[in-house]
């Protein structure tokens, strides 16, 4: 009912705008005095009107009304939409030398990540690539070494799936001996995003070039300033690896690998080489820098796990979390994300008492393999101290461990693949702090 009203209001506003033709002309004209584009001003006016819909609808309720949107013509359609100026989600820049930015998980609903809020991790900046001159070279242990243009790639049968991608360093802060209580979902696990990724299956391309049966790895390199390289087992090529050129219905964003990238569902993000320009089939891995000196996991027995691709099951409550403060006792919907690189999330449990008791959360449909799953649990806060936890179980029977289990298995010096249970401590005053267990 509510959504129907909003939709009607938007349609009416658009029609009114058309009648008056009030904002025609070049929407890109700049207002020299303010530096704002006219488009932004129009969007602002529309949003102000939108915000006032509520005020208009509450006439007589004693609320302050700046402007009654039912009494002024609304804004016209625009060629490119924008957010309400009241909504200002932002990525959090992090990492040395500006190498990463984190998705504001706590600001999002459902499972999809808006493309402009998708996390970033790159190793030497974002290259500018002309799609007209882009080429993907596939060579090595193949019958027919080939160059593919972007248009060539788009001519092949397309695959498209909703998938998460996560940096293997995501959540590293949760390993710290004394994690900062002022962490947010974004600062802890914001190197996680979910999109619909569209492209061509790498298996289709490997059929096309005549991959050799004795090839065991394919080496992928980007055309960024680091010429980022990773080696990927051929199993993944024949399974579900893809060359993606679209994200959430539009071309991949430059920071996500425009015009084309490798995408390896469920695997650590680093191996999904962005801006891919070369793939070489080989009978051995390349032993690139980012699969030897980085992205390997030291173990207590004096070894280091290498090619640890799969992201194991994980979950995090994104609401309510720091810095939100609960205003009064009563109903609170606990909600968050669960995901696993091994397939489907089978179960998410929530505890409000630090793990003494656990309750099954509702999994929001769709529950998809190698994609984030939204979970929800309705909680009645009694005004007392609480400790909110979530733990995910995947279809292999793997359950998200507590921190000590991970430390026992991998030691305190571990960095990557941090998936221990995250938690949030609620005080009597309603304040919330990050408190993993």
């Amino acid at each position: 009912m509510v959504s129907a009203n909003v939709r009607d209001g938007a349609r009416d506003g658009a029609e009114a705008g058309h009648e008056t033709d009030g904002n025609g002309g070049d929407v890109n004209d700049r207002d020299e005095s303010s530096g704002l584009t006219r488009r932004a001003l129009i969007a602002g006016a529309a949003a102000a009107a939108g915000g006032a819909i509520t005020a208009g609808a509450t006439r007589g309720l004693g609320l302050q009304e700046a402007q009654d949107p039912t009494k002024v013509p609304g804004a016209r359609p625009v060629v490119v939409g924008s957010r309400s100026p009241h909504e200002t989600p932002e990525k959090l820049l992090s990492g040395s030398m500006g190498g990463s930015s984190r998705t504001p998980l706590q600001d999002l609903h459902g499972i999809m990540t808006p493309a402009d809020l998708h996390f970033e991790r790159h190793h030497h900046g974002i290259p500018q690539i002309d799609p007209a001159t882009y080429r993907l070279l596939i060579h090595g242990m193949v019958d027919r070494p080939m160059l593919f243009t972007l248009d060539d790639l788009k001519r092949f049968p397309q695959v498209s799936k909703l998938l998460f991608i996560e940096c293997s360093g995501n959540g590293g802060g949760a390993y710290a001996p004394s994690p900062n209580p002022r962490n947010t979902p974004q600062s802890i696990d914001g190197l996680l995003s979910t999109s619909e990724w569209s492209g061509v299956a790498i298996s289709t391309l490997f059929e096309e070039v005549g991959a050799h049966a004795d090839a065991t790895w394919f080496l992928a390199e980007g055309s960024d300033a680091a010429v980022m390289g990773r080696s990927i087992p051929m199993e993944k090529a024949w399974d579900d690896a893809m060359i993606a050129y679209a994200q959430n219905g539009e071309a991949i964003r430059p920071e996500q690998g425009y015009p084309a990238r490798v995408f390896l569902p469920g695997w650590e993000g680093n191996a999904s080489v962005k801006w891919v320009r070369r793939i070489e089939l080989s009978d051995r891995p390349g032993m690139f820098r980012d699969e030897t000196s980085k992205y390997t996991d030291p173990l207590p027995d004096g070894t280091a796990r290498q090619f640890s691709f799969v992201m194991d099951a994980k979950s995090i409550i994104t609401n309510p979390t720091y810095p939100r403060r609960l205003s009064e006792p009563g109903f609170v919907e606990i909600s968050g994300y669960a995901w696993t690189g091994r397939g489907l999330i089978e179960r998410v449990e929530v505890s409000t008492d630090g793990g003494d008791s656990w309750h099954d959360a509702v999994l929001q449909e769709p529950v998809l393999p190698k994609c984030t799953t939204r979970f929800r649990y309705g909680w009645e806060w009694d005004g007392g101290p609480a400790h909110l936890l979530s733990r995910a179980t995947d279809e292999t029977g793997y359950t998200q461990p507590v921190r000590q289990q991970v430390l026992d298995a991998r030691g305190p010096g571990t960095r990557y693949h941090s998936n221990a249970i995250r938690g949030w401590r609620v005080g009597r005053d309603g304040s919330i702090e990050f408190a993993p267990v």
């Binding site: 030398m97 070279l137 019958d143 080939m146 160059l147 593919f148 243009t149 060539d152 001519r155 092949f156 049968p157 695959v159 799936k161 298996s203 059929e207 096309e208 005549g210 991959a211 050799h212 049966a213 065991t216 390199e221 300033a225 010429v227 087992p233 199993e235 993944k236 024949w238 399974d239 569902p265 469920g266 070369r278 070489e280 009978d283 051995r284 032993m287 690139f288 820098r289 030897t292 000196s293 030291p298 173990l299 004096g302 280091a304 796990r305 799969v310 091994r342 397939g343 489907l344 393999p369 190698k370 292999t396 029977g397 793997y398 289990q405 026992d408 298995a409 030691g411 305190p412 010096g413």
Partner: protein, 224 residues
């Protein structure tokens, strides 16, 4: 290193492959099959446990005919990776002395310090007594070329493709050989009078060479 060493090392890595195939089996996502005229259903075929090969080959003839054959010169222009067996190492050589000069001339020193120990960015230099590998147990340890990098070929590869940071990929092969020599010298892996060429890069045995093991996580209830 010897070829035999390379082979045994790679066999170890290949041991993880059956587990990877199993992980994919849980993915019910369809779509890959649709429209693939030649291959029918995409499935992971029998994995050879010895060498990791899938046993699956691509089509004997092009399926769609899209794309352009790549010439040898086009491949050579982009085929820059150096294998752990030394494949791809270019002709040429450099001395440690020249490398120390390159270290300053190309401003390596600004990020890594005069001897590779000082930072502020990645630490190049440092060995651990006995060449132990206690990284999992000591969170304060910093990994270096001398205590963590398993292959000197990787050092050549990465330096040539990505360094110096503000002018990546601009050093000559001779400069790269020389500065790789300097970094190995910093780590007491080469003498000060060493001449570095492809054989030297392949034969320099890195202290952490045998520390790396395949991923043994397989899903299921065990935490690894």
């Amino acid at each position: 290193m010897s070829r035999a060493n390379v082979v045994s090392r790679l066999l170890g890595v290949a041991a993880l492959l059956p587990a990877l195939a199993a992980c994919g089996a849980g993915d019910s996502g369809g779509g890959v099959e649709a429209g693939n005229a030649s291959s029918g259903a995409v499935m992971v075929e029998t994995t050879d446990p010895v060498d990791g090969a899938t046993g699956r080959a691509g089509a004997a003839q092009p399926v769609y005919g899209f794309g352009t054959p790549a010439t040898e010169s086009q491949i050579a222009a982009w085929d820059i990776d150096i294998g752990p067996d030394g494949a791809g190492l270019p002709p040429g050589q450099g001395t440690v002395a020249e490398g120390l000069e390159v270290w300053e001339r190309h401003r390596c020193i600004l990020c890594h310090g005069p001897t590779g120990r000082e930072g502020p960015n990645d630490i190049i230099t440092g060995r651990i007594p006995g060449d132990e590998f206690p990284f999992a147990n000591d969170r304060s340890l910093r990994s270096t070329v001398g205590n963590y990098w398993p292959y000197a070929t990787t050092l050549f590869d990465y330096t040539r493709r990505a360094m110096p940071f503000d002018l990546p990929g601009t050093m000559t092969d001779e400069e790269v050989y020389a500065v790789v020599g300097a970094m190995l010298y910093f780590n007491d892996l080469l003498p000060a009078d060493a001449v570095v060429d492809s054989a030297m890069v392949v034969d320099t045995r890195m202290p952490a060479r045998d520390r790396f093991v395949p991923d043994n996580r397989t899903g299921g209830p065990t935490i690894r």
